[in-house]
Each structure stands twice: as C-alpha cells, then as structure tokens.
Subunit: 291 residues, 2 copies
C-alpha cells in the first residue's frame, strides 16, 4: 500500500460520504438524532438489543439464568435496528449515552437501573442472581480478568480486523496485516488457556465464557468475516473444542436466536417476550412450510 | 488513498519487518519468549507496569487509596520495559497470559491472586478496600457502566487513532478518518455526560474517572499523538474542566510519575517501592542540579 501523498489537514472535517458498509451508523458526535420512545414489556428486565456478538452475550446469559431456574430473569428483548438509526433515538440514548447495543433496564429496582456495555450487563446480572460468577475470591477475580480481557480485545477483532478485512470499501494491506496479527495473537492466548482448562476462567462455566464465545465462535465457525481459512482458525484446537462445547448448550442456541434479523430464518426470533416464543417461532415456521 | 491492486492471500503469513514504531512488540503468537523471573518487593501488592495510560490508571488508584489512609495499599511498582520485551518473560506471562501491562499480584491472599487488565485491577482494588466504587447499587452500576465503556473505547483511541495518526509508518487517509470520527464521538459522549455531572459516574470521584482520565487527558493536554488541534480538543469544554480538576489531585500527579521513563526527568519515578521514593526523587534531582 502506498499513500505517500496524504497529509492530514490541520483540523479534521467530517466527510459523511466515506466509511464503507456501516458508514451510516458512524458519526463524530454523540446524542440523540430524533425523538423515539422505547417500548416497555411486561417483565422487570427490558433488553434493547440486536444479535451481534455483543448482543448475544446478554441473551445467552438470560437464557442460562432461566435454564438454571431463576424465574426473575424472564425478559423482553426489543429489537434495535442499528442500520436504521434506532440507537440514536432519544429513548435509547437515555439508557445508553454511547448509542450502542445492548442496553438493559431493570425495573425491579427503585428507581429503575440502566445498564450499558455488554460486560457491565453480564456482571450486573451475575451479581443480581448470584450465578455464573464464582464465589471463591480467586476464581471470581480470574473470571473478571478474562471478562475485561474480552472488552479490550473485541474492538481490535471486530472494529479492527472485521472492518478492514470484510467491510471497508477497499482492501488496505497495512491495516489488514496489523489486525490479523492481533487476532491470531488473541486466538493463541485463548488456545493456550483452554489447553489446561475446560472453561476460560477455570473449571466452571462463567460470564467470561459468555463474553468471549460469541466473538470467537463466529470466527472459528466462519459465521463472521469469512476469514476462518485466512486466519487458519482450525489450528487453534483447544478454542475449537471449547467453541463446540459451549455451542451445544441449549441456552446458548436460544440466546443466539434472539433479536436476530439475518441468516437462516429458522434461527431468527426478532423479538422475545416470553419463553414460549421459541416454540411459537418453530410452530409458525412449520405452518409456513406446510402452507 | 487508492490501493486497488491489493488482494489478501488465501492464508495470512507473518512478515515481521512491517508494523511501524511498535512493530517489535507485536506478535501473532502468545506465550513466553524467554525465561525471566519477576522481582518481588516487600509489600503485599506487587505491580508490574509502565506509565502508559493503562498503567497510570492503577498507580493513580493506589496513590488515591494511600492518600485516603489505606496503609495496606502500599505497593512496589516494578518497571516492565515493553520495548525490550519484558512482557514476554516467563514470569510476566504467568501473571498475565495476555502479555500487556499493567499486572498486579496480591500476596496477602493464599494463594496469591493474579490480576490483569487495568479495568479488572481497578475493580479488584476498589472492592478490596471498599473505596472509589459507590455502595449505592444504582451508583455502583453506573460506575461500572463507564468503567466498561472505557475498556471498549481505548482500543479505538489508542490502537486505532493513535496508531494511524501518530505511529504507523505512513499516513493512511481512510483509517485516520475512521478513527478520528470515533475519537471525536467518544469525546462528545464524555462532554455531554460531564455537562451535568462533576464526575463521570455522577457526583462522586470513582474508578471510572481513574480509568478514563489518563486516556483523554493525554489527548486534551496534547501529551499523546500531538492531535489536540486536529481533534479540536479545546471545544470539549466539560471534558477540559474535568481533566484539569482531576489532574490537580496530588495522588494523580504522583500516580503519573510511577514507572515513567520518558518526558520531563523531574516527572519520572522509574520504580516505586515506598511512599518516600517521591521525595527522594526530588532530592536526587536537586542534588543533580546543584552538582
């Protein structure tokens, strides 16, 4: 890549026309662009999300909590269409000033509690229900180490590698090399960890697995970026073992469907308001196929 | 920028010669490169770090704890020279398999507790001492929201904007535009938040401020990237107000000096093993100046 004629201006100016596939959702300013109230369903927990890896973390957690018998984890999952700018509506910005999914409101507290950033939501739910975060201090700290690790690595995996390899308007060699090196390093960090441990934080399934799995399973299973061969994802054998093990969990499979609007229609549950919605979706699909 | 001839290979291969200023510290594999034991000082808390923004978060927290009277927060801060590969030594990898500073070991627990990722360390210390993290559930959640927000934004600010604007071997227009837009958005998110609140999480000084301040104060004060004019950093008036307010705290000024190896020699304390080291540093400097 040669670009030796470019010199940044003294002061940067916004050119709204550049930016590739997700250009319409990137802005140099924060705050709402329009008035838009958020829907509120019947459960105390109201989730506003989309089935990106960050969204899936939280729906997996909620489905796991329900599978473990925590009935107070019942939730409404409302679809936030980020390509249509729902995240810039006044109601959404009020619960997440950063305008990113997922965002959660817990109406069981007085006043209601807003929770944003997927890692913060996982920790909030783990502490609220006392689940998927070990009680032993050492194991708890190790779980949080890896939860924070994921928060720092995903922007380089998704916003870096994913953007430049799959979504940017052109293929730029230098950024692709930069972020490929980093993603392979991340995969190797995980692979070495999972060589000696069943789960990321040790021998217990935790919110660290829930945070990390959606991002790296998408790479390993080639569900994102079409980069599995490029990254030689199959060579990270322990990561592959763990991806399949976690992916076989029914709660994970349910969590992946919620707020999904792309891919196999049989795997999409655009909104989720009740546990029975998963069965209804299957029945609807069968009815459609029989019709 | 035009690069229409580049097509990524089917499988990526490492070219160790590319990568710009920090190329020597980026690798596509994890794990140790050499045997190297870590020094252990006299205090229960052993920090292995460098005065980058992520390192400063933790030294500020420790100095704030000491200033508030928590004598058990006394610590040894050992220098990790990342340009010389100290982070790939076997001892360091054993406490942080991700090979990034800062990393902390708490020897007051049995067994000793390793803590890595700056956000995890801040949360660990806040919970250990019951300080700088509100006890009120709503305020605690809001603090954690912003702590996690910082973990997700810094890779785009430092690894994205900082790299392409200041450190990459060439100036590439597309990545610079991409990350400039994001950094300005982050500054605006903060600016709006700080318009209505003295501190990031509300009216109390917390670990969220400690996490966010080192990164954005470096931009606003033009201590990193030489990009203050390019970003029009002075226009974020509430961020500027907050940067100065936090920056005036004596504990913050001490924290910034620890494990610093560049800039004004009067502001460097390469290793810190005792509170008196700050005064000794000043005395040494005066002696040198008088000699």
């Amino acid at each position: 890549m040669s670009d030796d004629t470019y010199t940044p201006p003294r002061v940067w100016k916004w050119d709204a026309d550049s930016g590739g596939k997700f250009a319409s959702i990137n802005r140099p300013v924060a705050g709402p662009t329009h008035e838009q109230e958020l829907p509120v369903g019947k459960h105390p927990l109201q989730l506003y999300s989309l089935a990106t890896p960050n969204g899936v973390k939280v729906t997996v957690m909620l489905e796991e909590l329900l599978a473990r018998g925590f009935r107070e984890a019942e939730y409404d999952a409302h679809l936030v269409n980020i390509l249509e700018g729902d995240q810039f509506g006044s109601g959404f910005v009020a619960i997440n000033p950063n305008s990113k999914i997922p965002a959660l409101v817990d109406h069981s507290t007085a006043p209601a509690t807003r929770v944003f950033e997927s890692g913060s939501i996982l920790l909030y739910l783990a502490e609220k229900f006392g689940a998927f975060l070990p009680g032993d201090p050492g194991a708890r700290t190790e779980t949080l180490n890896w939860l924070f690790w994921q928060m720092g690595t995903a922007p380089l995996l998704g916003g870096g590698f994913g953007h430049f390899y799959a979504y940017a308007p052109e293929k730029y060699e230098y950024p692709i090399n930069r972020y490929t090196m980093e993603v392979k390093r991340q995969l190797d960090v995980l692979d070495r960890r999972l060589a000696d441990h069943q789960f990321v934080a040790g021998e217990e399934y935790t919110i660290a697995d829930m945070a990390i799995w959606p991002w790296y399973s998408a790479v390993v299973r080639n569900e994102a970026y079409d980069a599995a061969e490029f990254l030689e994802a199959h060579t990270y054998r322990n990561v592959n073992r763990w991806v399949e093990e976690i992916g076989a969990r029914p709660a994970v499979q349910r969590g992946k469907m919620v707020n999904r609007t792309w891919g196999d229609p049989a795997q999409q549950l655009r909104e989720r308001h009740d546990a029975s919605d998963f069965e209804k979706r299957t029945q609807d699909k069968l009815a459609t196929e029989e019709a």
